[in-house]
């Protein structure tokens, strides 16, 4: 252990990594809600499936970097299946039913995870080249965490470019603002809904795969992530991408600090923060979200 400087370097970098994972999960949740008004409570379980898929792929001999590409595709396939079978019939119904349905789905998927991989925690074996540590201002920081940080930055940049520069991305953004107009322009909204759900699930899968080596993989990881990503989208404002970036970094920092100093009450503080923001600033800290 080093001095105060190296500890603060550790805390800063860890907050960025954790915040980045929150950001990817929360953005997936945001995209699904923004485009199809489905608040997917099973999103955390899809994230966990991503982590377990990454684990299984690396144990059967795939390269870690290959797993980061393949696992999200598998999660996206699960998402496509779910959307076509049980999520799409819910669009015509009250939101209460959608919430209950995805809540049930969460327990179903968690149960499947427990049955397939068991209750005991799993660890992802990293390739030798990124296993070492690198000295930064007196701290010996693990290289793979820095690599993870670059992957997160890459995924978010790619997503921004996709949403802002490609035609499909522009249609998605338009559909989240005025779906009727997009529909009038001859775009099949059914395809938009499918695309949004699959994209959101793929993001959950990416987050799960890169989060695997950061922590231990256990069946409860999805629950914790679901709550954390809720807090992120509530604080950032529902549907606001800029707000989510801000909130994810904030919550990442709060949780990392809490892990260093106080552990037991950390989550209680986060829940309280979420309640206060929801009640008094329902549009999020930046005032960009829209809660109905």
């Amino acid at each position: 252990m080093g001095g105060a400087l190296s500890t603060s370097v550790d805390i800063t970098l860890n907050s960025l990594v954790l915040g980045g994972v929150f950001l990817i999960v929360a953005t997936g949740l945001n995209i699904i809600y923004g485009l199809s008004r489905v608040m997917n409570l099973a999103h955390g379980s899809l994230y966990a499936i991503g982590a377990y898929a990454g684990y299984t792929l690396t144990t059967i001999g795939f390269n870690y970097f290959a797993a980061i590409v393949i696992a999200p595709v598998l999660v996206a396939a699960v998402g496509l299946l779910l959307e076509r079978t049980i999520i799409s019939p819910m669009r015509k119904r009250s939101m209460v039913y959608t919430l209950i349905l995805t809540y049930g789905l969460m327990f179903f998927l968690d149960g499947l995870i427990k049955q397939s991989w068991g209750n005991e925690p799993r660890f992802v074996e990293l390739p030798a080249m990124i296993k070492s540590t690198i000295p930064i201002l007196g701290s010996h920081y693990p290289v793979f965490r820095l690599v993870t940080l670059f992957i997160i930055a890459g995924v978010m940049t790619g997503l921004m470019l996709f949403l802002n520069k490609t035609k499909i991305g522009i249609i998605l953004r338009a559909a989240s603002t005025i779906p009727e107009m997009v529909s009038c322009l001859g775009i099949n909204m059914k395809h938009v809904h499918i695309g949004a759900f699959v994209l959101g699930c793929a993001l959950a899968g990416i987050a799960g795969t890169i989060a695997g080596p950061l922590t231990t993989i256990d069946p409860l990881m999805g629950h914790e992530m679901l709550i954390s990503s809720f807090v992120v989208i509530v604080i950032g404002g529902l549907g606001s991408l800029r707000g989510a970036v801000f909130a994810a970094l904030l919550i990442g920092a709060v949780q990392t600090l809490a892990e260093f100093f106080i552990t037991d009450l950390a989550m209680v503080i986060v829940y309280m923060l979420m309640a206060v923001i929801l009640a008094f600033m329902p549009r999020g800290l930046l005032g960009e979200g829209r809660f109905e």
């Binding site: 008004r37 608040m39 049980i86 019939p89 819910m90 015509k92 119904r93 009250s94 939101m95 209460v96 039913y97 919430l99 209950i100 349905l101 809540y103 049930g104 789905l105 969460m106 327990f107 179903f108 998927l109 968690d110 149960g111 499947l112 427990k114 049955q115 629950h223 709550i227 809720f230 807090v231 509530v234 037991d264 009450l265 989550m267 209680v268 829940y271 309280m272 979420m274 309640a275 929801l278 009640a279 008094f280 329902p282 809660f291 109905e292």
Partner: protein, 331 residues
């Protein structure tokens, strides 16, 4: 705009047939411990009644006011812990005082939570119930000195059941406790039914069907939502008091998110907005849980699957199934 939760009203009011059915049912349940003395079955039905009361209280909130609470079991848990702590630390023999303390403390906790929650829309309300529920679960779980943490609250004394000073029996005796539970649950059901059939209940249903219209005709929507919430939490508090008296033990798992999903499933199984449906739903749920958990450890797969299938194919529950067959017979 969100689509509203619409539930058809099939209740034609009190008929002689209904009074007879309820009387026969209560009498049958009351005679049960004298016919079947097996303690296992008595406690099973006792648990069905307690969870039935909890499911009924959630129905007041979800089925009548249209507000979703993911973790209504949190309020059962809070009350159970308070009653247990009261009996351990303050007075081991005052049953009624403990019961009242449990319900009052639950209301004191539920009031600010409800005040915050009703300020938000349907989705945020549901997410907040999850956040607050998880918070209470974490507090109970981590506050080892007071609640016993993971081990739960143990060694809760069994006070005597008295009415105006007359000792009727001991709450440690399963048959006596069962009859006590039956009386309290029956009273709560009749009282809640009376409240729900009153103009107050009609206002709650108006909010469920169309919140904007209710506000336009001059109803203070927030205030009525808060009343609905408080009624639901107080009933859950009564269920919590009965829970700790019957079990003599409570652990944090009773307040977990998973247990909360179970309560939602009881309401869905029975039928939203029917009040008696969730009581039936709870009985079915407790029976299945007892049956399945002895066979498989992956109970949550089945719970999740049944919840999904219910929402997709039978959103009105078994009560709805009844009217479906009635329609089928007419055609």
């Amino acid at each position: 705009m969100d689509k509203h939760l619409t539930i058809p009203d099939n209740d034609k009011g009190i008929t002689a047939y209904k009074i007879a059915a309820i009387t026969v049912l209560i009498a049958g349940l009351a005679l049960f411990p004298f016919v079947i003395t097996n303690r296992f079955y008595i406690s099973l039905i006792n648990e069905m009644l307690i969870y039935g009361l909890l499911a009924m209280s959630l129905d007041v909130l979800l089925g009548y006011t249209g507000l979703l609470s993911f973790m209504h079991n949190a309020y059962l848990g809070i009350s159970a812990y308070v009653v247990g702590l009261f009996l351990i630390h303050i007075s081991p023999s005052s049953l009624w005082l403990a019961l009242v303390a449990g319900v009052i403390f639950t209301s004191v906790v539920a009031l600010p939570v409800g005040w915050v929650q009703v300020r938000t829309g349907g989705l945020a309300f549901a997410l907040l119930t999850l956040a607050f529920g998880m918070m209470f679960h974490t507090i109970v779980w981590k506050w080892y000195g007071l609640t016993g943490g993971d081990d739960g609250l143990m060694g809760v004394p069994n006070p005597a059941i008295t009415i105006f000073g007359w000792k009727i029996g001991d709450s440690g005796d399963p048959a006596t406790m069962y009859l006590f539970t039956l009386v309290i649950v029956a009273l709560c059901y009749l009282l809640t039914r009376r409240i729900i059939r009153s103009p107050f209940g009609a206002v709650l249903e108006a909010i469920r069907e169309n919140e904007e219209r209710a506000a336009f005709i001059g109803i203070n929507v927030r205030m009525y939502k808060l009343f609905g919430w408080m009624l639901a939490c107080m009933l859950a508090g009564v269920a919590g008091a009965l829970f700790i008296l019957y079990k003599g033990y409570i652990g944090p798992t009773t307040m977990s998110a998973f247990a909360g999903a179970g309560v939602l499933m009881m309401v869905l199984l029975g039928g939203l907005g029917t009040l008696w449906g969730p009581l039936v739903g709870a009985a079915i749920f407790i029976y299945i849980q007892d049956y399945i958990s002895t066979m498989t450890e992956h109970w949550e797969i089945y719970l999740g699957m049944v919840v999904v299938l219910l929402v997709l194919f039978l959103p009105t529950g078994f009560v709805g199934l009844g009217s479906y067959f009635k329609r089928l017979g007419k055609e």
